[in-house]
Amino acid sequence: MPSAESEPPKKQEESTWVQIGRFTQLAFVLPAGTVAGWLLGTALDHWLHQRWLSTVGLILGTVAGFVELIRTVLAHTSD
């Protein structure tokens, strides 16, 4: 049985207020990522005179939103 000294230090518990703030953010992560990606792609389309970058930006933004969402949830559900 491992001694208490050899156990890895537990992550400090966050207060309820910090958790509320952190999780209210989640509702905005996916739409904000999608819109930000689309806006960036559209700006690049105008700048580089292309037509496909807005679609790529839209997809990347959605992926970025999901990555951020999963990252936040995993960070607070894993021990």
Partner: protein
């Protein structure tokens, strides 16, 4: 001419000429050259002047032996922000407390000023004021990350833990950081705008009693949104200065 609050009207009467001249020097043509200062800018100026005057008064009355009520309140605010920053950022969080405190007080006063008749919440009038706050926070946490890790060290944060995935992770991380800018802006603006609108709608329907309930709700939302904005900025600073990714 746009609809102007009394303070905006005074500012435009006094400074319309120099402001329009300065904008034209920057190759910006104002929509209304006779009134280039809008309500949001005027209300921001009111908030700025109020905060400066308030802290000058607080500073002049600081006392270790006999602290007054206002000093107690400000010590409480500072202690609360320090505690939150320590919990989120960890060691050396005290370096970031001045910015976080200033940001939360500015946003809180901006949110609350709309409750006074004759004034408007600059954070609820247009999205430009929340966008300004979000841009400053965005620049701040990236600058702190650059200062802490150096240019290459901070850039590596954007490439993820696996070098093979760096090509994919870099654009995803860039979009993810830009999304923070958007979500900070939209959350603050939409909440305060909705609070103002609901109060106005109910005031027009039932002008006695009921608006008090919605004003109370607006105060809660004002505190909550100022807190959430400060908290998320602290979370972004913590992410930028963190040693591991």
């Amino acid at each position: 001419m746009p609809e102007q609050l009394w303070f905006t009207h005074i500012l435009n009467q006094m400074f319309a000429g120099p402001v329009t001249g300065a904008l034209r020097a920057l190759h910006i043509e104002p929509t209304y050259p006779q009134a280039p200062i809008n309500n949001a800018v005027a209300m921001e100026l009111v908030v700025f002047l109020f905060i400066i005057a308030f802290f000058l008064v607080v500073r002049s009355r600081l006392s270790v032996e006999n602290p007054g009520g206002v000093q107690h309140v400000m010590e409480l605010v500072h202690g609360f922000v320090s505690g939150q920053a320590r919990e989120i950022i960890g060691h050396h969080s005290e370096n970031y407390v001045p910015y976080l405190t200033a940001l939360s007080i500015f946003i809180l006063v901006c949110n609350l000023i709309g409750l006074i008749p004759g004034f408007e919440s600059p954070t609820g009038v247009t999205a430009t004021v929340p966008l300004g706050c979000a841009l400053v926070s965005f620049a701040y946490y990236n600058w702190q990350g650059l200062k802490h890790h150096g240019a290459w060290g901070y850039f590596k944060h954007f490439m993820g833990p696996m070098p093979a995935m760096a090509v994919l992770m870099l654009p995803i991380e860039i979009v993810s950081h830009l999304a923070r800018l958007l979500s900070l802006t939209v959350r603050l603006w939409a909440n305060i705008f909705a609070g103002d609108l609901i109060t106005l709608v109910f005031f027009s329907m039932i002008p006695i009693g009921v608006p008090i309930i919605f004003n109370g709700l607006h105060i809660v939302v004002a505190f909550l949104q100022a807190y959430v904005f400060m908290l998320l900025t602290a979370i972004y600073v913590a992410g930028a200065v963190a040693e591991e990714h």
